[in-house]
Structure formats: C-alpha cells, structure tokens
Symmetry: C2
Subunit: 456 residues, 2 copies
C-alpha cells in the first residue's frame, strides 16, 4: 500500500480525530480554559507518539505549554526539517452567531465546522498524518523531522521566545515549514516570500506648562498640535507618498524585475479592494503598484493622535501637549532600531521653534522577513504545490508581521516556509469557522510529497 | 459743596452699600441663584432711582434680567452716553479657599473682599455714585446718560443680543463706556483700543469606511491622520509663523508706526511671560514683537485634534477618520464668514489624494473690534485718566473677544470705551476676590470728570 492509499483508507478516522481535537476548547486568551490548553497539548503529544514520532513531550513555559516530538533516524546526509503549528484557538464569542456549537463540531457540505478547525488544528494535524502514513508504509521518514507545536499563538506567543532560545540546539534544523498558513484561494496555492517588520514610536510635543487661553496666548507661544502636525507632515510627501525621513529607504532591498513580475502575476482587483476598505481611492508611494506597496514597500502610519479639546463644540484652548503614535512596517533589510533612531533624528532636526519633543519607543518590534531567492526549502515547496494543484503557486508577500517566523530566523537562523492549507474565507477568527476537508486531504498528500522530495 | 466733597463725605455709606450689593449671591451660572440675580437687578434699579436716575426699570429677557435707567435732560446739544456694567457674578466655589465667605464680604487692608467685589459690582456701582454726586450737587448731569446693566455676562450674555436689538432706539447713543474693565495695574491706567474677533471650524478627514489594519492596508490607502496633519501644516509656516492660507491677511489693517510705538511703550517682560506660561520660548509671526502678535495680529490655533487609537501602548490601526477644531482670532477688518470661506477653499485646494474632507463652522463668531484713531469718547477717556493717574494711560489691546463690545458696535454703531477700575490681580474668577477701595474712590472721581468733560 502506498502512503496515498494509506491516507485514503484512513480518512474517516482522521476526520473523527480532528473532530475530537476541535472539541477541546483550548482558548489561550481565557484563563478559565488554561486546563483545556493543557489537554490539547496532551492530545497532540499522544497523537505524535501514535503516529510513530519519538520523544513526544510537553514543553512547559511560563504560560501555556508547547509540544515537541522528533524522528531523527533518516541519516546525517538527510536534512533536518522542523514543522511548526499551534493547538490553541481564538475565543468563540459571540456564541449565538454559530450555526453549530464552536466546540461541538460537525461535518456539513464537505466542511468541518468548529473553532480552530481551520486555524490551526486542522492545519497542524496534517503533517502529523503525513508522518503517520509514511511511517506506516515505509517504517521510516525520508528526512529527519522535528515537530514544534505551541499553545499561545493566538495571544502573541509571549512565552515562546525564551523557550525557543533555550531549546536552540534541540530545534536546530536545515529547514522550517509552518503548518499555520493560508492557500491563496480555495483552489490556488501560494508561497509567502516576505513579511513586513514592525517598529513603533510615540512622539510627544510640549509647549506651555498647562493649557492656555487661545485668545490671550495665541501668537505669543507655539501650539504643540500645530508643531506636531508640521513634524508629521514633514515625514511624508503628501503628493508622492514617499517617506521623507532621511535614510529611511537606505536599507530597503529594491524590488527586482523578477520580484515585480511575480507580484504582477497575482490577481488584484483594485475596485474590489476599494469596495472592501471603503476608501475613495488608493494612495501610496509613487512608482509602485498598490500591491507592491502593500506587500513589499515600507510604510509609516499614524495610528493615533491626540491633543487639546475633543468634546462637542468649541473650547478656545491652546493645548500644552500633543502626541502621536506611529508604527512603521519595515521590509528587508530595514532594522527597527535604526528606523527608530532615524525618526528621532528627524524630529530633532525638524522640530518647530518654541516647543520641545520627546520620542519614546513602543513595544512590539519585529524584523522584516524575506526568503532569499533560490532558497532550497522554498523551491521544494513550490514544486510540490505545483504538482498538487496543477498550477504554479502565486509568489506573495504579507503586509503584516508573523512573529514566530522572525523568531525562528533570529534564533535558529532559518527562513521558514509557510506550507498550510487553510483559506482566508474560512472565518478564522469569527463565528462559523470551518475547514475544507478537500484541503485537509490535499495537505496530507502535499506534506508526504514534500518530505519525500526533501529526502530524495 | 463740590461733587468731590460729596464723594468724600459719603464714602463710608458707599462702602456699606457695596457690601450689601455683594451680599446678594447673584451667580448667573447656577439655576438655584436665579432669584438672587433678580434680587440684584431690583437692588440696581432701586439704587439708580435713589441716585436720581429716571425710568429705572428691570428689562426682562428669556433668561436673567437686565436693568435700564436714564437721565435725558442735558439738552439736545449734549451727547448721549450709555454706561454699561453687569451685576451677575461668577460661582464662588471652591468655598474652602476663601479667607472670608464670598457672600458675607468684609473690608480688610483697604480692600473689600467678596465674590463680585471687583467683577463687576464694585465696577458698575462707580458710575451710579458719580451720577448721584453730580445730581446732588448740581441737580443735573452734564450729558444725557443711559445706564444698561446686565445679569448674564458671566455666562456669555446668551439672551442679550435680542434685547439690545429690540431696544435699539431707546439705547441709541453717541458714546458708550463700559464699567466692566481693568486698569493696567494697581496704579496705572489703560485704554483698550482693540479686541480680537473669533471664528471656528472643525475639519474632518475621512479615508476608509472603518478602521483598518495598518499592516494589511498601509501603503494601499491614505491615512486620514497623516492627511489632516499635512493639511494643517500647510496652513502655517513652521519657521516664520505666518499663516499661509491664501487671502488670510488681505483685510488686516496693518499696524502703523504710531500703533507700534504705542504698543512698544507698554512694559512687557518676556521672561516673566514665559515663566507664567511655562513655554520654552516665545513663537509667532515673524516681523512682529510678542506683544504685537498677542494684541494686534490674527492667529490660527488648533484647539483639539483627534483620530485613531489614544490608549496606552500600540494599536496598529489605520484610522478611518481624523478631525481637528480650529479657531482663528481675527483683527480688524477681518470678517469671520470670509475667513471661514478661505479655510474651506484652502482645504479643498490642498487636500491630499485618497481622502475626503469636510469643513464645518463652529458657533461663537465675533467680529474684531478696533477703535478708530481720534475717536471722541476715547480721547476724552484718555484725558481724564491722565489727570486722574498723573500719567498717560497705556494704549493697549486684548487678544480675546468681549462679545458685548462687538454687540454694541453691531447694533448701536458705536465703539465702546472700557472705563473700569478693577485690576487683573484681584482674583476676578477665583477665591478671595477683592476690590481696592482706593480705586473704587478713584473711579468715582474719574467718572465725574469724564461726564463733565463730555458735557463741556
């Protein structure tokens, strides 16, 4: 029997097991579900062992646990592959919007409905089943495999950095695949090559010691709200959308013709995009397409600004203080620390007279992430996806950050590849989350093929 | 006996009467004191009659009443003079900060302590006493005199415009003196020549229909907070402080050499000004002194600005909307309507791409006020003050607005002269308000001299 026959034969059992897995309400954001997250960890460790994975164990953290398991007998000439996913889920509220209960999942219309079915219990179960099929049919795996599953992805993985740092040797690997990822659409695959980094600052401008009367002091002293507006305006060209902070683009890796062609190949419906956001027109850095800007160019956004009187009507106050929160989305090879320093220098150089300013760092730094062209694991994943879907995957990027990917890169020195089979329309963080069983099966086949290819 | 002897002889009684007047807690802002404001109106009407003023009566309004009285037998060759003041007072809270109770006034150290002693019961009582002295000694007044006292100045005179419009014929006059005014200092007089006008708008900038994720949409659509900052920054030069709205200065009457010399003669302690406001440096329109800017140049101030996330830490939101409240202080001959139109045109012309903007007017318009050079009533007041203080009064302006002055100008066509004897350090709107009895007496003499001079 081939591994494909094994998968086909046992699909009913796999679906029942996934239903069991989804029944565990492992909501990491809710303290009352702490034991459920632990139960899910136990379920995963047991399931790894049942699949033939060795050393399956729970890794305690200062918060929700992680699970590790490995099979390392492929030989030293074979690569070591780390596979990642998470077994915690988003809160299910509001419960009354669910067609069937979030933690009493059911199968309807070829879909498995329940909280976590798609994000990421269905996703992370796939590589375990692939391993089981390969082990069952061949008694071994084509490569050395390490599994790492976490129980706190949905709350931002607060306790994972020290765990990964501490387990650096055990987690050492040649390639990383994340089973927490999205296809491009229900029938189209993608390879995510880039993620943006993140850097935040708060700028506070002070003038008078307390709010003043705008009639008695207007014209005598500067207005922190105006000075802050002038500072912020000096950071971006209103017409070209270019960020005008000295040195901001210095470390940006320019898009190559090949990069631009890949991005242009991905369908983009600008009218649909505007309808979705409700914005009257698109806007961004001159010389780049909307999608290039969204995926591959750094941005500077004011997230919030406050100062003076905010109630109804008029209050003729000349405010003492104004402040703005800014985050920049960064692309390779921009460095959060360096960008923060450039902003601070810009504020110092452009500060209007008669006020003082302070620039404070905000938490949440993330390095940008860009898979190098020709990256071995990515090439293998592309080939497998092309075989599995009958068409080359789209080569995409994401405007947001995925902290675990940058964490792996920093601690293990490896660019992870997102190799997942969920679809963005599956209500991942909303009521009526579901997972397409067709993609559940397709993913198992794809993971078997991937491991074979890597071992070949 | 001369009127000066009459005043000297009766000063004790006058002080006792002012104590009685202050005992009435005529707090216009507090509904529970409505009857007290009426009692104060009654006290004023009776006191006018006792001084020999005719037709003393209460003028009802839709809110707190006013009081009118006149003496019109000086002859048609003599001017008609309207004298204004107010008998309502500020709330007295916090009561525990008063040395003696606000409405149980007492005399200590040559000062009369109590709420309203200085603002404006002491002030408005002065011209009544001057009229009494003149009537007692000569049986007549040197000019035709009309008194108008209101009971709602401290709440912005909401019901006075229709009353003054309705009584336009009865209030018709050649000159207006306001007994609600300040000396320059305890021993120095001033003539206020100019007041600023007021105009307010709220600018709202809209982008996406709802707040968006700054990672997923940054670079795709414009950010209303950035667009608003750019719009606001485009309204004022950060270095020169000049307002850069097309046509903004068109109607401004430039300062003449004489104007500038008058302003320069008034002492100004910039270090003291900065210590008072706590601002690190003065700032304003290039080419003008601080005092010129505060008194005689129009300003544009952002009173409040809001948009996006304002809590602690970071929220990576690309806000859907941002808005700012702006007020301009205007100088003669700027027109609030025209300035509002110029701002709206500026917003339209400078609106960054990818957003929409709306400009809404805010309530509270006031026309600027500037006494014409050579104005008869002002010249007479200057001469009397010079005689009374032994030095020429400072010629000053005020950065704020005084609605009753612009209301008189609009309805009666007369530039009022502020002729008052309070001092800015007398805790006018604070605990321990007091009035210097020395200035109470000096004011009576000055009003007698003024009426005599006007009739001469």
């Amino acid at each position: 029997m081939s591994w494909q026959e094994y998968l086909d034969t046992h699909q009913d059992r796999f679906e029942q097991e996934l239903l069991d897995f989804v029944r565990i309400p492992s909501v990491s954001a809710r303290p009352e579900h702490m034991r459920d997250v632990e139960r899910a960890a136990r379920w995963v460790a047991d399931r790894l062992a049942a699949a033939g994975i060795e050393n399956a164990e729970i890794l305690p953290t200062t918060g929700h646990p992680a699970v590790y398991g490995d099979w390392l007998h492929a030989g030293t000439d074979k690569p070591s592959v780390l596979i990642y996913g998470h077994f915690d889920v988003q809160p299910a509220e509001p419960l009354d919007l669910w067609t069937s209960p979030p933690f009493d999942p059911e199968i309807r219309d070829g879909r498995l409905w329940g909280r976590g079915a798609s994000d990421d219990k269905g996703g992370m179960f796939i590589p375990i089943l692939a391993a089981e099929a390969l082990m069952a049919e061949t008694g071994r795996l084509p490569v050395n495999v390490k599994f790492l599953f976490e129980g706190q992805e949905e709350i931002g993985s607060p306790d994972m950095p020290p765990v990964i740092a501490a387990q650096r040797n055990r987690l050492a690997c040649d390639m990383i695949f994340s089973a927490d990822g999205l296809q491009w659409s229900a029938q189209e695959a993608q390879i995510v090559m880039g993620l943006k980094g993140l850097m935040g600052v708060e700028i506070t401008v002070d003038g008078a010691a307390t709010d003043q009367h705008s009639g008695l002091h207007g014209g005598g002293i500067n207005n922190p709200l105006m000075a802050l507006s002038q500072l912020l305006a000096s950071m971006k060209d209103a017409q070209t959308g270019r960020i005008t902070i000295d040195g901001f683009y210095d470390d940006v890796i320019d898009l190559s013709d090949e990069d631009r062609a890949e991005i242009a190949r991905v369908p983009f419906d600008e009218a649909g995009y505007l309808a979705e956001t409700g914005a009257p027109a698109s806007f961004g850095e001159e010389g780049y397409s909307v999608r290039e800007r969204l995926w591959a160019r750094p941005t500077l956004e004011i997230n919030g600004l406050t100062g003076g009187y905010q109630g109804a009507g008029t209050k003729t106050v000349l405010p003492a203080r104004a402040s703005a929160k800014i985050t920049c989305r960064l692309v390779a090879d921009q460095d959060p620390e360096r960008i923060a320093a450039l902003i601070a220098a810009h504020v110092e150089a452009h500060l209007p007279p008669g006020v003082t300013a302070q620039v404070d760092r905000l938490a949440g730094d993330a390095d940008p992430f860009l898979v190098p062209r020709g990256h071995n694991a990515t090439r293998a994943a592309e080939e497998v996806l092309a075989e599995t879907y009958g068409a080359a995957p789209y080569i995409t990027r994401v405007g947001g950050s995925i902290p675990i990917m940058t964490l792996f890169l920093r601690e293990l020195g490896v660019h992870g590849v997102m190799f997942g089979f969920s679809v963005g329309d599956e209500n991942l963080h909303a009521p009526d989350e579901f997972f397409r069983l067709e993609n559940f099966r397709r993913g198992q086949t794809a993971y078997c093929r991937l491991l074979e290819k890597l071992g070949g």
